[in-house]
Amino acid sequence: MLSTEYRVLRGPEGYLPPAAASMGVVLPEKGSALVEGCIVPKEDAMELIADKLLSAKNPFFFPGPLVLWAWKDGVVEKAKAIKEMAEAAEAKIIPMPDYRPKYPMINPAIEINPNHPNLTIWHNKIDVCVFIGVHCHYANMALKIIRGGTECYTIALCGEAGHEDAMISLRDVRVEDLKRMTQIIMEKKGVGK
């Protein structure tokens, strides 16, 4: 049975948490965002992202292949904007360049893999993470595993339709959105007012 009560909250949720989409959580339309399974205005979600990053003890960005290589026009500008946002939030960066599992073990201090993202989060004691530039399938796969087994608060800045399995998700994220979030972060820090 579908439930409208399901909320996408900080974990650990359990052994095998469901896909939020299968629990009735729907993706936002353009101009809106998702916060813990509820649709909110995009600007509100941006404010909340800034709050979560600034209140975190150990925030990390996980940029994926879509922003790690200059495979089309505009990606370099986007990558620069991501770096500026991470620096404004005083967050560290661990890239996710590859999706294939690495055996026998990744080095969780410097790597993250969508098939076992919990290892990197546990090792680095990451309490807030930002997915960006990760192909949607792999992002959702990883976000569920993180929700299931860790206490990490997940944020997904998606260039497509967004992610139900993140605790906060924006859709259609462009360079100007990243710059806007950097501006919000700086204002909340009391810089550039």
Partner: protein
């Protein structure tokens, strides 16, 4: 070949249409003519063969860039997977034993997030050998992870196939769509089908919005091996595989929005508040509609529910409709009653659901059979 221009999907779907008196197989040809398909791969099996012959004609006319015959259905479905991984909009069709022969490919398509569109022209499967209409293969397909639409008429077939590409290719959906129709009853009969102008076609597929990396010179086939978790025996591998499967099911849930947008609701109803509801899919709906007309002329309060989307299943809609009805009759062209099982799985009170009437092995279903059930349950 008529010179075509790519237009927005809505422009094509809402364009002024011409009515043609054509078979279901020809309706498939006309849908593919306008679908901007780059590649089609065929293998013959009755009652599907004609449709892919006609798609081959489109290749000869220049509408499709590549077309060939595979060695068998499994080869076809595997080739189709390769084409889709490489970012190509691709189409194929099969039916009955061909569906079963290719079976491993279907969950593979879904698991690899491939937006393939495949038409299934259903027929009986062995044994004993039959080529006649039967929807039993749909029972087997229910849990493969693909979206399943069930066409009642040639018009449905044309509309659903054309729209299936747009539904399948949404980034957040991006799983295969199977458009099923009842072999012979639809494929080999003529009907009026409203068709968009032939000088319009769908916009091209953009593989770079895929939720998984597309196979190209940066992501060569070696890297397309989708992380063989199965080779490892540890909790991490199991958890990743589980989360992967959940994501495929989630993709089908997200398709609801686009099925509603492009095909209308997942169901259609006539007299939904009636005491007796006939719920069906495919050509069982046509027979039920006839039976309903007879029954209403005799004073029975009968309504009709046509289920267009089998996967995702219209669970909420059916639950509400069954709750209001006193009796629900589920006519089907197969021996197992898979649609009745689906309905029972979401209904609160299953005792009001009549499993049947059934016909199979190629038998037709006279509306009188359904009418008898209406009379019997009204006593």
């Amino acid at each position: 070949m008529i010179e075509q221009r790519a237009v927005e999907p809505a422009q094509l779907f809402e364009a002024k249409k011409e009515s043609q008196f054509i078979t279901g197989s020809e309706a498939i040809r006309e849908a593919i003519r306008r679908a901007n398909v780059e590649m089609a791969i065929s293998y013959p099996i009755t009652p599907q063969s004609e449709s892919m012959h006609l798609v081959g004609d489109l290749f000869a006319e220049g509408y499709i860039k590549e077309y060939f015959r595979g060695e068998n259905e499994f080869a076809v479905m595997s080739s189709v997977a390769g084409a889709a991984m490489a970012g190509v909009r691709v189409f194929t069709a099969t039916g009955g034993p061909g569906t079963l022969r290719a079976f491993e490919a279907f969950p593979t398509w879904a698991g690899a997030r491939l937006p393939i569109v495949c038409a299934f022209m259903t027929r009986g499967v062995n044994s004993p050998l039959t080529i006649q209409p039967d929807t039993i293969e749909m029972a087997y397909m229910l849990d493969t992870g693909i979206i399943m639409l069930h066409a009642e008429t040639a018009q449905d077939l044309y509309d659903m196939i054309l729209r299936a590409f747009i539904i399948a290719e949404q980034t957040e959906v991006h799983i295969p769509v199977g458009v099923f129709t009842d072999g012979f009853f639809v494929t080999h009969t003529r009907d009026k089908v409203k068709i968009a102008p032939a000088d319009m076609k769908l916009p091209p597929y953009d593989p770079y919005s895929s939720p998984v990396p597309v196979m190209d010179m940066e992501n060569v086939p070696f890297r397309q091996m989708r992380d063989p978790f199965v080779m490892k025996s540890n909790y991490v591998s199991y958890a990743a595989h589980a989360s992967w499967q959940q994501e495929v099911m989630a993709a089908a849930e997200r398709a609801r929005k686009y099925i509603k947008q492009y095909i209308g609701e997942l169901i259609e109803t006539e007299y939904p508040d009636a005491d007796i509801l006939l719920i069906g899919s495919g050509t069982a709906v046509s027979q039920s509609r006839e039976a309903m007309a007879y029954a209403r002329s005799e004073g029975f309060n009968v309504g009709l529910v046509k289920i267009k989307s089998i996967r995702p299943f219209p669970a909420q809609e059916i639950r509400e409709l069954v709750k209001r009805a006193k009796v629900v009759i589920v006519p089907e062209f197969n021996r197992v009653g898979w649609l009745a099982r689906e309905i029972k799985s979401v209904a609160e009170d299953t005792t009001k659901i009549v499993v049947g009437p059934h016909v199979f092995g190629g038998m037709t279903m006279p509306p009188g059979m359904i009418l008898d059930e209406i009379r019997r349950t009204s006593v």
